[in-house]
Each structure stands twice: as structure tokens, then as C-alpha cells.
């Protein structure tokens, strides 16, 4: 009896931890996550990194074998050529207009449409939302010709407006579906409460529903902007004049224009094309993450 109490009293303060298989699993999964992340960063990141480095190399060094990793001679010549020899600033402005316009249109039309799909029940609404989903599955190549006919008949050929409309048409189905699911997750009682508190339905929507659906709206915005910014086919088909070219189209026409590929200029152009997208993403990224953790309306 006494020896037993003694042995307990002198036992180490903390009992030994009992290791189990789950600990190994935990460790292994951590390692896998880091490995995967490392792989992803190198595969995705290296071309970007290489692009930035090469844009600072003088023309001759680009063809050097073996290739030099860091530029032996840092130069801004490529960037100067870009602005002096080409219409890059025009392309850039056109792309901004098209991408911005398509984003705003997708958000406004998609937001209102998704809100209706989520909140109202009337004849044909389910059929409409299914049709929208099917539309999203159609590839660009398939809709480009019918859209071209519309564009020509409406007298919009070779205008930026045609591009804005086409890009919106392409983004809209996804915008509808994505935002609809966000609106569905927001309890109707919040809007009803807002309406009793003195809002009209539209006021209730933008004072309560929109702030809560912000992460979804931002995701759709990022998608729409990215798509319109990178879009090539519509731009190729709908625009012809130099003055209305967008960046992807403009850059692409330099390839094979003369027999010497101006890689240095193309790389500098590519860097400048990437910057707005990265900036835009950095701008909204914080909001996206904050919104996601904030939006949970559970129990409120």
C-alpha cells in the first residue's frame, strides 16, 4: 500500500506520450503538402521567373548557348523598343477597357440575374438556369461564329464594344451559377429583416446581401477580368484595325510579322501584360480571404 503511493509520488510529472500511427500520418501529410507546394511553385513559377529575367537581357544574349541564368548585362532596351516601335500603349489601353467593361457588365448583369435565380420562383426559371449551365459548357470556338454574325449585323464589327459584349456573354453563365450559390447560402430572413427595417428590395440587396456575398462577387470579378484580359479568339475575329487590337492579339501579330522573332520585345510585353493581373489579384486577394472567413452566416 505505502510502496504504491510512493511510486506514484516519485513518478515523473508528465506521463509518457503514447505515440500512435496517426502521428506518423500527420508528419507524412505535412511533408507531402510542402513537397507538393514546392513542385507547384517551381513548375508554375519558373517560366514566370525566366520571363522576367530574360526581358532584361540584350537581344544577343537570348540566343546564347548555354543560356545564362542571370543577364550578363542588365538592359531596359527591350522595354524601350516596345514603346517606341510598337503600339503597345494602345493595345494596353484597349485591353484595360475590354477587360474592365466585361468585368463590370458580368458583375452587374450576373449579380442581378443570380439574385433573381436564387430568390424568385416563376415560370421557366429552373429551365433558364439549366440552359445557362449548358451555355457555359460550349467552347469559345463554337460561339464565335454566331456571335460574329450578330456583331456584323449590329454594325459593331471592329469595335471594342463588340469585344466587351462577347466576353461578357462568355463569362456570364459562370457568373450566374457561382453567384447564385453564394446568394443561396445567405438566409432570406436577413433581407426580409432589412425590408421590415425600411429597405426596398433593391436596398436590402445592396446593403445586406451584396456585402455578404462579396467573396463570391470578387471571385467572379477576378475570373471575368482574367478571361477578358487573356482572350484571343474573339479579338482575332471581331477586330481588324491596329487601333482596336488588344494585348494578346497585338503580341501574337508580332510573332512571324517579319522573319526575325523579336523575342526580347515579346518578353518585355509579356511582363507588362502580367503585371496588371498580378496587381489586381493582390488588390482583391486580402478581401477574398477576409470575406471568406467573415461571410459565414451560421447562427446569425
Amino acid at each position: 500500500m505505502t510502496s504504491a503511493t510512493l511510486s506514484i509520488a516519485t513518478a515523473p510529472d508528465r506521463p509518457r506520450r503514447n505515440h500512435e500511427l496517426a502521428d506518423v500520418h500527420h508528419l507524412a501529410s505535412r511533408m507531402m503538402v510542402y513537397l507538393l507546394a514546392f513542385t507547384a511553385v517551381s513548375v508554375v513559377g519558373f517560366p514566370l521567373f525566366w520571363m522576367v529575367l530574360c526581358s532584361f537581357k540584350p537581344g544577343g544574349e537570348l540566343y546564347a548557348t548555354p543560356p545564362s541564368f542571370l543577364p550578363r548585362e542588365w538592359t531596359l532596351q527591350n522595354y524601350r523598343d516596345l514603346f517606341v516601335q510598337t503600339n503597345f500603349p494602345t493595345y494596353f489601353a484597349n485591353s484595360l477597357i475590354v477587360a474592365g467593361g466585361a468585368t463590370v457588365l458580368s458583375l452587374v448583369i450576373g449579380g442581378l440575374g443570380a439574385y433573381s435565380l436564387s430568390r424568385f420562383k416563376f415560370f421557366g426559371i429552373a429551365a433558364f438556369s439549366n440552359a445557362a449551365l449548358i451555355c457555359y459548357m460550349l467552347p469559345e470556338v463554337l460561339i464565335v461564329l454566331p456571335l460574329y454574325i450578330y456583331v456584323v449585323k449590329l454594325g459593331l464589327a471592329d469595335t471594342l464594344i463588340a469585344l466587351i459584349i462577347a466576353n461578357t456573354a462568355f463569362t456570364l453563365p459562370l457568373a450566374l451559377w457561382f453567384m447564385r450559390s453564394y446568394f443561396n447560402a445567405i438566409p432570406v430572413s436577413l433581407e426580409e429583416s432589412a425590408m421590415i427595417d425600411g429597405c426596398t428590395r433593391l436596398q436590402a440587396m445592396y446593403k445586406v446581401t451584396v456585402p455578404l456575398a462579396l467573396p463570391g462577387i470578387i471571385s467572379v470579378g477576378v475570373f471575368a477580368f482574367n478571361h477578358a484580359w487573356n482572350e484571343f479568339l474573339f479579338a482575332l475575329v471581331f477586330t481588324s484595325s491596329e487601333r482596336n487590337k488588344t494585348l494578346p492579339l497585338g503580341l501574337a501579330t508580332w510573332i512571324g510579322q517579319d522573319n526575325i522573332y523579336s523575342w526580347g520585345m515579346l518578353l518585355a510585353g509579356a511582363v507588362l501584360v502580367t503585371i496588371p493581373v498580378v496587381l489586381f489579384y493582390l488588390l482583391v486577394q486580402r478581401k477574398l480571404v477576409v470575406g471568406l472567413s467573415d461571410g459565414g452566416a451560421k447562427g446569425e
Binding site: 426580409e192 421590415i196 427595417d197 436596398q203 445586406v208 467573415d294 459565414g296
Partner: protein, 352 residues
């Protein structure tokens, strides 16, 4: 403050009738409780008063003004939702200020009112929090403050206590009633909990299947149920019903006592009772058994206070009795109450 009138209101959805031909009047400053099992139409009725649903038939009159087709925002009503519907992206302060800001009140006025309303429910120190950082009780009080910050004519509550745990619900109920007494606003309260209804209501409207079964004070409804539905819905355990040809006898478990418990010579109706199980609940005991003797054998429950010294013998037939004044009679076919001496139970005291 205003009187609320519901005139022959019905609501028909595509596949069913949620509310059928309900008329009632809520007096100025009265606390009226709509009580019924889920799916009885009580919430639909409340939503029609709020303007969130349009009645298929009938009219709603708030403070003498026809409100059937008015937008919710134009009715000057306030509503507390079951899930409180607090705006998760706003602080408590902004939540309470929301109805004022929407109506374009100036900043100084808003601040004054918000602090008044928050003080009323004891939320002064929590104004900077977001709803998700608060407990259920605090959220409920925030919802109350928000709905009262702008002096509504009618105050609607849709099961506001059902998300609270049992202990909190009790104190919240008491607070709510004290609060209503202080503010004195006309209130309509929806619940499926009969204890809440009894404890809170000036009058109770018992609903079932979209129709009003009875309207009356808690006492009237408990003592003189208008039909067998109300009789069994109110009270826990429910009223014992014994079907005897075209008359159904009803008596409350607490009125069903051993015969020896009544002074000799008092006016009682004897009913033999065979107990098969006893449940001890502290304050009283529940005796489960069958009514037998001259009556058809029917399951019944007796509730005997612990202060009554009586040791039930399981399995044997014991003489029990009900004071004749506590015995209710119902018509078996329709379930309606038959008139009790001196008191006529109206099926609808609609325009009380």
C-alpha cells in the same frame, strides 16, 4: 402603438392552404400569442402581418389603416426572427442603427436612439462586437433592440426564444415580458411552446391546420378548452379524454386525485383507476394507468403533488375522483366543448 385587425384572412399556396379564414383583433398594447403545432399556419399569418406574404383573401388593418398591400417598410412594424437575422457584417451598434440609417435619420439622433435601445436591453458594453462574437442571449437582445429602436406600431416575434438553451429561455422569457410591459407596444408572438404562450400572453390564439381553434386568456384556454384539440395540446401531460358514446369526458391530470383526498360530501365524479407505472418528478408524481370500472378502458394520467400522502399500488384498481366542476364534456363527433354551467365557451372569441 396601434390596434391590429385581421379580417377573414386566408393564404393559399399552390399545393395547400396555410391559413384559412382567420379573423382576430389585437388590441392596442396587448401581447397576443399565436400558438400551434408546426405547420399550423401561425408563421404564415405573422408573415402576412409583416407584409412578407400577400394574403390570398382578406385584409390586414394596422392602426386603422388598410395595410394589405403595403410594403413591409411602409407598415411601421418591427420583427424579431427565429434566427434573429442580425446582419453579420455589421457591428451591434450598426445593427441597431440600421433601421434609423435606412430612414435617413441624422447622426446625432441615431446615436442617441441606439444608446437608448441598447441600454434598454443591457447591451451598452457590447456595441462594438460583431454578431458572431456574441452568445445566443446577447444576439436575441440585439435583435430586440434593433426592432424597438424606431417606435414600431406593432411588434412581431417569430419564435425568438427557440434557439436558446432551456435555462436561458426561462430568463429571456421573463425579460421579454418585463420589457413589453415597460414599452407597452402591441405585440404578436408566434410559438409552438405552450409554456411560453401561457407565461407571456395576455391572450392566446390556438391554431391548427390553418384555422383558429380558440382565442382566450391563458386561464380560459387551459380551464375551458373549446375542443379536444386544444384540450390535448395545452398542458403537459395533456388533458385525459375518455370517450363515452357521443360524449367525451375530459379532465386535467392534476384534478384527478384519489377519492380519499376529497372531503366527504363534496361534489365529485368517481372514476376507477388502475395504475401501472409511477414517475417521480420531485414536486409531484405522475401516475400512468387505465381508467376502468363503468367507463371504457382508456389510458389516463394522474398528477399527484408530493404533498399528498398517497402510496399507489401498481396493478390494483383504486377509487379516484374528479371534482365535478373540473370535468369537461365534449361532443365526440365534432370534438367541440359542450357548454359548462354558467360559462359558455365560444368557439371563436374573435372580436374580443
Amino acid at each position: 402603438m396601434a390596434q391590429l385587425e385581421i379580417r377573414q384572412v386566408s393564404k393559399v399556396f399552390t399545393d395547400h392552404t396555410a391559413v384559412s379564414n382567420v379573423s382576430l383583433t389585437v388590441n392596442d398594447g396587448e401581447f397576443l400569442v399565436l400558438l400551434g403545432p408546426s405547420g399550423c399556419g401561425k408563421s404564415t399569418l405573422l408573415r402576412m402581418i409583416a407584409g412578407l406574404e400577400l394574403p390570398t383573401y382578406g385584409d390586414i388593418v394596422i392602426g386603422g389603416r388598410l395595410a394589405t398591400r403595403l410594403q413591409p417598410k411602409d407598415r411601421n412594424i418591427a420583427m424579431v426572427f427565429q434566427n434573429y437575422a442580425l446582419y453579420p457584417h455589421l457591428t451591434v451598434y450598426e445593427n441597431i442603427a440600421f433601421p434609423l440609417r435606412v430612414r435617413g435619420a441624422n447622426t446625432k439622433n441615431v446615436d442617441e436612439k441606439v444608446r437608448w435601445a441598447a441600454g434598454l436591453v443591457g447591451l451598452d458594453s457590447l456595441l462594438k462586437r460583431k454578431p458572431r462574437q456574441m452568445s445566443g442571449g446577447e444576439r436575441q437582445r440585439t435583435a430586440l433592440a434593433r426592432s424597438l429602436v424606431r417606435d414600431p406600431d406593432v411588434f412581431l416575434l417569430d419564435e425568438p426564444l427557440s434557439n436558446l438553451d432551456a435555462k436561458l429561455r426561462h430568463s429571456a422569457r421573463e425579460e421579454l415580458r418585463q420589457f413589453q410591459d415597460r414599452v407597452g407596444v402591441t405585440s404578436v408572438y408566434v410559438t409552438h411552446d405552450q409554456v411560453e404562450a401561457m407565461g407571456l400572453g395576455d391572450r392566446i390564439v390556438v391554431m391548427q391546420g390553418g384555422t383558429v381553434r380558440q382565442i382566450g386568456t391563458p386561464e380560459e384556454i387551459y380551464q375551458y378548452p373549446a375542443d379536444t384539440f386544444v384540450a390535448t395540446f395545452m398542458g403537459s401531460p395533456p388533458m385525459n379524454l375518455i370517450q363515452q358514446d357521443d360524449i367525451t369526458l375530459g379532465f386535467r391530470p392534476e384534478n384527478f386525485l384519489p377519492e380519499s383526498n376529497y372531503p366527504s360530501g363534496s361534489d365529485v365524479t368517481r372514476i376507477a383507476f388502475r395504475v401501472y407505472r409511477v414517475e417521480y418528478l420531485g414536486g409531484d408524481r405522475l401516475l400512468y394507468g387505465h381508467v376502468c370500472g363503468g367507463l371504457p378502458e382508456t389510458p389516463a394520467i394522474a398528477r399527484i403533488p408530493s404533498s399528498v400522502s398517497y402510496s399507489p399500488v401498481v396493478g390494483s384498481e383504486t377509487p379516484f375522483a374528479v371534482a365535478t366542476a373540473d370535468l369537461r364534456r365534449f361532443e365526440t363527433s365534432s370534438g367541440r366543448a359542450l357548454p359548462v354551467d354558467g360559462i359558455v365557451v365560444e368557439r371563436r372569441l374573435a372580436h374580443g
